[in-house]
């Protein structure tokens, strides 16, 4: 018990003192997950909106597939990206394996379906409301998608945040394709796993506290933004 308490105060000291190793790990984690979330949003949001609006053969299959991919196990993504980027793999020549780029790629693949699926849901609701008017005005397909994305932007934030939450919390994919190399590909989650295994509880706890803190701040921000959006539309049915 004393040991844990000591580790906990050491962890707080590291956070408050801005321990360089801790800061480096946090910054790399944020860089990887934020880049992945931006890429996944660019890919996933239009796909979600398009799936909500367009009727084409195979659409249902795609929606079911997307929903299934929402729960994609990180280790499976890690395996696929590892094989693809390994020296003998199709993209081996890029030399991305065990670099942050591989981690970004893996996380992007992991969360794009999640963002697209959640976005599709909110876009489908907005489309049900707007469809008659946009069709009456003769809005073309691409402008329809753009209009829905813009008018539904606050709702879409939820899907992006869900994506960020998943990316920041996962450990399986980044540890496989990043390798948890100190100062290069060590993220919060991989460091926590490693340090705990080594019995180095202070750093693990410090990172754990920060990881939870980041998640809290992001979710509080999302909540406030949602309130703001609702206030903006107050009185609307």
């Amino acid at each position: 018990m004393d040991e844990i308490a000591a580790a906990f105060s050491a962890a707080l000291a590291m956070i408050l003192g801005g321990d360089p190793e801790l800061v480096q790990i946090v910054l790399l984690s944020l860089r990887v997950s934020l880049t992945a979330v931006v890429l996944a949003a660019i890919l996933g949001l239009p796909v979600g909106a398009a799936l909500a609006v367009f009727r084409f053969p195979g659409r249902r299959v795609l929606v079911v597939l997307l929903n299934a991919l929402m729960g994609l196990p990180p280790v499976v993504v890690g395996l696929v990206v590892y094989v693809t980027l390994s020296r003998s793999g199709p993209l081996g020549a890029l030399g991305w394996l065990f670099t942050p780029l591989a981690m970004i790629l893996a996380q992007t693949i992991l969360i794009t379906p999640l963002i697209a699926a959640v976005a599709r849901q909110s876009m489908a609701e907005l489309w049900a409301e707007y469809a008659d008017e946009l069709r009456s005005l003769g809005v073309g397909p691409w402008r329809t998608v753009a209009t829905l994305l813009w008018d539904g932007r606050f709702g879409l934030l939820t899907s992006v945040l869900a994506g960020f939450g998943r990316a920041a919390a996962e450990v399986g994919a980044v540890i496989m394709v990043g390798g948890n190399i100190a100062h290069v590909t060590r993220t919060m989650t991989t460091a926590i796993a490693l340090e705990t295994a080594k019995g180095e509880l202070a750093l693990a706890m410090g990172l754990g506290i920060l990881l939870m803190g980041i998640s809290l701040v992001i979710n509080a921000g999302a909540y406030l933004l949602g309130e703001f959006a609702r206030a903006r539309e107050a009185g609307a049915p």
């Binding site: 707007y130 008017e133 107050a234």
Partner: protein
Amino acid sequence: MTPAILPLEVRDLGFSAGGKSLLRGLSFQAAPGRRIVLLGPNGAGKSLTLRLCHGLERPSAGRIVWQGPRAADAKLHQAMVFQRPILLRRSAAANIDYALKVRGVPRGERAPRIEAALAQVGVAALADRPARVLSGGERQLLALARAAALRPEILFLDEPTASLAPAAARRVEQAVAAIHAAGATIVMTTHDLGQARRLADEVLFLHDGNLVEHGSATAFFAAPQSAEARAYMKGELL
């Protein structure tokens, strides 16, 4: 003004959904400048007729023929106002701006047209208000202003005053009259017989997916020919 897409000729129009026939053998003409009001009990096919004419639904039978010279882009010369107005999450002015942009009106022309349209229906003061905080009547007037800004040759209105208080309904009627005076042909549905008397040149009376009676409003209101129309006018349930 020479018509671009009018007259509209509806020939033997039919529509079925889920194996159920909802509209059969509907034929009529909409000549430029007319105000045509569709009457009939719920489920008669009034709204469906508007949606078919406006191209929101695909007919199962029959044809909708725009006979004017610009028939190829008939879409660009029509507008529709729905029973529950659909407004985008933007200001009143931005809602109209969006519609004008979609129809390819150049940026420089949009501002004056927005202003004129809002003034035409008497809601100039609402320009900067978010559309979604407006009252029911204001929302419908904004939808009318948006339609007016498009300068449609034909305007479809689906029960535009159905859920409005009398004062708001009167303003909507005035706006419809103003849009008609500006040159638009009006095709509308209503359950308000007083409104139909005030606005209609022609009446189409539908019942159960059939056109039962079609004639001038004066003749229709003086002496409806069909038993169904007589019963409907007396307020009986059909």
